[in-house]
Symmetry: C2
Subunit: 302 residues, 2 copies
Amino acid sequence: MKLKEIGEFGLIERMARGVKTDASVIKGIGDDAAVLKWTRDKYLLVTVDMLIEGRHFTRQAAPERIGWKAVCCGISDIAAMGGVPKWAVVSCGLPPGLKVDYIDGLYKGIKKAAALFKTNITGGDTNASNGIILDVAVIGEAKKDELTLRGGAKTGDFIFVTGELGGSIQGKHLDFTPRLRESRILVKNFKLNSMIDISDGLSSDLGHILKQSSKGAVIYEDLIPRSKKAKSIKNALSDGEDFELLFTMPPYEANRLLALKNKLFNIPVTRIGTVTPRKQGIKIVDPFGARRELTPAGFTHF
Amino acid sequence: MKLKEIGEFGLIERMARGVKTDASVIKGIGDDAAVLKWTRDKYLLVTVDMLIEGRHFTRQAAPERIGWKAVCCGISDIAAMGGVPKWAVVSCGLPPGLKVDYIDGLYKGIKKAAALFKTNITGGDTNASNGIILDVAVIGEAKKDELTLRGGAKTGDFIFVTGELGGSIQGKHLDFTPRLRESRILVKNFKLNSMIDISDGLSSDLGHILKQSSKGAVIYEDLIPRSKKAKSIKNALSDGEDFELLFTMPPYEANRLLALKNKLFNIPVTRIGTVTPRKQGIKIVDPFGARRELTPAGFTHF
């Protein structure tokens, strides 16, 4: 049997199999970041994201954008936990024949993102490789009462997304702004029950929240905010790398958010549906009111 | 200008250039691990090591050994700081056509090392790639009074190494035991002034300690413990990936260590020389008593 037959989730399941963790691990494999014991009122968060030339970017893209993305994927993960980034370590694989100007470009993007999101670059590893590889681990912290996991969605929660979805592959995936500012405002002012960043695609990532929460959902096609680059609802539902936040909160909090959102945010924050009991499944209602099964479809690695 | 012209240290210098860190970073780029503010009496340590197929290993090696090494490089770094590992995150790039049996082997090695060194596997990232890439970040902690940096060597310090050096490429580099046990004994019982793990080669890594400490040294060819796989003194001086500890301590501590070492350790712990003022340079004395310049030579990535 080959990797492509078991896929990403089969692979993660095999990695997790038989792994025992001690009491220092609050949440291990399976959320946007690991949650580890730290102080009386804070958790440590750890996440890592690898970018590989030819898979996630090509040599044609400006190196600043690749460096930017390499850091921002992790910042987005930390934001999706309700945390703030603090430190990053950068592993690179770089071809010995690569021009130093190009490397300076990669580093410029890395440093720009780290500085903007107040993340200290504290080390890394450098290696020779055939293609360019960047792997950035971001370490952050979350106040215990601000930590937001995937698995906390409750029946009746309203489902929200930030920004506009779809078509990220046309460019935004290299220039996106991780929604750290929005996450800070959300967790400081509202009680959220669950959150994830949309990296695989709305339908997939909603699936992750619902699976871990043992819930179903109904979402409304008409309510899903589409980016100008999204040609159809399919792009908004299943394109990867939007790096927007997807979150759920109880109705009374959600109504407060709906009343305040234009004052609090510079970007759209949109209700797209409701969490339902698990046995209802995951449904999408089309513009004519017809209800169908929402099949998680999005970016798959293998 | 190309990467191979500036080399690994030119690359690291370019990454470090202009990087500002806040007060949470005790020691950033340039030691075996980053040292970060943690609790009142402990520091947090972070290190990362990337292994790339065709550069660090070939597909012919048993996957268990590759997985083992991927974790143990970071354990060795944490040991070299006087710390203990706590958590690891594992990033992989894996070819979609790779056999699942092979992946299970990689994971078996990863899990075996993590379990043996009481390191919790807490997450990671999975990606498709052409060749196999494993990048493991290890996070640990060090008591403030046990932290041992590269830069603390003092004139008159005795220089020690654990184990036997050279010829690691013939197999040990995939099966080595990181010297965590020895590091624990050392930092709990003795005052060390500096420590590093030998990954680039004795002459290179001694060079790192001396450069960061602004010191020189004299070492004695006859005292350097050679592994059976080392064909000549050159192998012991410049072969990479021994993953032994190289450390310095004041004479009164060193004499205590020399008296106690056979009781405390199962492996050789050998005095190989003395730290001198910087202006003396780095010298090696041959078996006939002739003194020559020791030129750092070891594994170079580019």
